[in-house]
Symmetry: C2
C-alpha cells in the first residue's frame, strides 16, 4: 500500500514543485501544512486508480487563485472542508476519498492536508497531470465528468455554489468571485464515483511526484551526477510508461515581465544561453509556463511540461520567484498520453492559452 | 382587495418609473411583459402587509445589473423562476407569495410577471421604497431579514447560489458574476415569512406607484394643472402618510457624463435654470440619482427621492435616456420614514454612495 509519510514527504513536495511547471505557489508552505498533519496522523493512504470501485465517491479539491496571491494569503484547509461539506449537503452523500485536481504546486498538497484531517484516503492521480491555471483544463472535464456542484469558500465561512452547463462557464463565473474573495478561494469540484475517477484521471501522479523528488535528491547527493540530466533520465526510463524528456536550454535569466491580472499571474521570461549570450529563449506563462521558444522556433508547448530548474541543485523555480541572474536549466517532459488526445487539446492545447499555433509533440520539436 | 389589472397598469408603470429615481431601466419593457401576463390571467392580487401571517412565505425577486444593460438584454422571467425554485430546493419549502425588492423601474414589474405566471399574490410593499443600485440597500437587510440563500440565474439555466455573513458581501461577490452573465442576472433573495416581510418592508409601494401614475395622468388631462406640481401635491396630501415634496429646479439638460463600469451606470448631469442660465444644478447618479446640488449647496440627497420629469408631460426620465436639451423639472420627495432612521442611513445614506456628507432631510434643505 502506498502512502505519504514523513520519509517521502520532502521528495513528494519537490516533485510537486516540478510538476507545478512554474505555477501552483510556493511548495514550502504546502510542505509545512502536510508535515503538521503527518505529525498527528502518521501517514496518508494513497488509493491506486485500479483499486477504485463504484462504492468510492470522491471530490476534487484545489485552491483557485493566482500563485502570487498564495504568497500572502495561505490556503485554508478548514475553508476547503467547508466547501466539501457544502457539496455533500447538495448531493446528500458523503465523500469517502479525495482526488487532487492538479498534481503540481500547493494544490497537490492541500488535498493531503484535508484527507489527513478527515481520515480519508487520497487517490493516486489527478485531473491535470501537472498544474494548469483554469478549472475546465482537467482530464475530468475532457473525459466527461461533471464539474457540478462547484463550491467556493472564503476564510469567513461564506460559500458560493455554482451549477452550470460547462466547466468553462464555471471558471468564467467563479474567477471574479475568487478575486473578490481576496485572490484565493478553496474549491470543491467534480464529485465522482470510483469508475469515473479511474477513467478520467491522469493516473499515479502522486507517486510520480515522489519519484521525481527522489531522482533529484539522489542526483544531488552524488558527486558526479548532473541533477537536471537525472530528472530527464528518470522520465525516459520510467516503467511501465517512459516519457520523452529533454534539457531544452542552459542559461541565465535576463528579464522577467510579470503581472497579476484578473486572478492570474501572466508574463514571460527571457533567458540567454550560458555558452552563447546571443541565443535567447523566451518562456511565456499564465500561472504556469506554457511555451518555450528560441527566435520563432517553438521548442516545447502546452500541454507538454516546461519546468525551470536551478542548474546546480535541480530545485524547481516558480514564476513568482524567477529573477534576474538566476542560472537555470529548462527541462521539458512529454505530457501524459491522455493529455495529448485531440479532445484533450481542445481544452489544454496552445489555443486554450491564446497561443496561435497547433500543438506539436515535444519529441518532434527538439532543437539540439 | 387590491390588484394590478389592465385598467391600472399604465398608472402603475408610470409610478414605478417615478420611483425608479432615474434607475431601474426602461419601464416600457416592464409594461409589455406585465401586459402579456394580464391578458392570460386577468389580474394580479396584491397582499397588504397587514394581511401577512406566519403562514406566508415570500421571496424577493429582482434583476441585478446596470440599467444600460437592460436596454439590450431583457429581464428573463423563466430564469427568475429558476432562481426562485433553486431557493425553494435549498430551503425545502415552497414560496406562496412574492415581494418586490425595489419599488422603482423594471424591477417593480418583474415580480408581477413571475407572480402572474405562477398564480401567486404579490406583497404590496418592497425593500427599497424606490430603486437603489445594490442588494444590501434594503429595509429587509436594515431591519434584520436574512439575504440567504441568494440565487442568481442567467439565460442558459446556470445558477450561482451564495450563502454569506452579510448582504454587502453577497453584493460584492455577486456583482462580478452578474458582469460575466452579460450584465444582467435574475436574483432571488431574502426569503421571509409573513411577519418578517411586514416588519421589514417599505409598505404599500405598489399601490403608491399606481397613485403617482394616476396623479400624473389626471394632471395631464386637465387644461390648467401643472403635472409636476400635481405630483408634489399628491405626496403632500397623501393619506394617511403625507410626505414632504418639492419642485427643486426647472431647467434644461446641458451635459451628461455617463459610464457603465463594474456593473453600474455612473455619472452626473448638469442642468441650467430656464429663467437664469447662470444657475446650474448638478445631479450625480449611480444607477439612480443620488444627490442634487446648486453650487456647493445640496438640495436633496439619498435616501430621499430625486426624480427628473419632462416639464410638460411629467414623464419620468431615466439616467440612460437623459440627454442634451431636454426641458425638465427636478422633483424631490422625502423617503419613507423607515428609510431615514440612523440604522437605515448606514446602508442607504450618502456615505453608502461615496458622498462625503451627512444625510439631511429634504425639508431642511429646500432652496427656494
Amino acid at each position: 500500500m502506498k502512502e505519504i509519510n514523513a520519509e517521502n514527504l520532502e521528495d513528494f513536495i519537490r516533485g510537486t514543485a516540478f510538476l507545478g511547471t512554474g505555477g501552483g505557489g510556493d511548495p514550502y508552505i504546502g510542505r509545512l501544512m502536510v508535515q503538521q498533519e503527518l505529525e498527528k496522523c502518521g501517514a496518508i493512504t494513497l488509493l491506486d486508480p485500479d483499486e477504485l470501485t463504484k462504492d468510492h465517491f470522491g471530490i476534487s479539491l484545489a485552491c483557485m487563485g493566482a500563485p502570487t496571491a498564495f504568497v500572502e494569503k495561505l490556503p485554508n484547509a478548514s475553508a476547503m472542508i467547508a466547501s466539501m461539506e457544502r457539496a455533500e449537503k447538495e448531493l446528500e452523500r458523503k465523500f469517502n476519498c479525495i482526488i487532487p485536481l492538479e498534481a503540481g504546486g500547493i494544490n497537490a498538497t492541500i488535498p493531503l492536508v484535508v484527507a489527513a484531517r478527515l481520515g480519508l484516503p487520497v487517490v493516486d492521480g489527478d485531473g491535470m497531470g501537472r498544474a494548469f491555471p483554469e478549472f475546465q483544463m482537467t482530464t475530468f472535464n475532457i473525459y466527461g465528468a461533471d464539474v457540478n456542484p462547484f463550491v467556493m469558500s472564503d476564510d469567513f465561512g461564506n460559500t458560493v455554489l455554482l451549477n452550470t452547463d460547462a466547466a468553462i462557464r464555471t471558471e468564467r463565473y467563479g474567477r471574479p468571485v475568487c478575486v473578490q474573495m481576496g485572490g484565493i478561494s478553496q474549491c470543491a469540484s467534480y464529485p465522482m464515483d470510483g469508475p469515473t475517477m479511474r477513467e478520467t484521471c491522469v493516473p499515479r501522479t502522486v507517486s510520480l511526484a515522489i519519484e521525481i523528488g527522489c531522482a533529484i535528491r539522489e542526483a544531488r547527493s552524488s558527486v558526479s551526477a548532473d541533477v537536471c540530466d537525472a530528472v530527464v533520465d528518470y522520465f525516459k526510463n520510467a516503467s511501465p510508461n517512459p516519457r520523452f524528456a529533454s534539457v531544452l536550454f542552459d542559461g541565465k535569466v535576463q528579464d522577467v515581465l510579470r503581472e497579476t491580472t484578473a486572478g492570474f499571474a501572466v508574463g514571460r521570461a527571457k533567458l540567454t544561453a550560458l555558452d552563447d549570450p546571443g541565443v535567447e529563449m523566451v518562456i511565456t506563462f499564465q500561472n504556469e509556463y506554457s511555451r518555450a521558444s528560441v527566435g520563432d522556433r517553438t521548442l516545447a508547448i502546452v500541454p507538454d511540461l516546461i519546468t525551470i530548474l536551478d542548474r546546480e541543485t535541480g530545485e524547481p523555480i516558480t514564476t513568482e520567484t524567477l529573477g534576474y541572474g538566476q542560472r537555470v536549466k529548462v527541462v521539458a517532459i512529454a505530457a501524459a498520453e491522455n493529455m495529448r488526445s485531440p479532445e484533450a487539446l481542445e481544452f489544454i492545447g496552445p489555443r486554450a492559452f491564446s497561443i496561435d499555433e497547433d500543438f506539436r509533440k515535444l519529441e518532434t520539436l527538439t532543437w539540439q
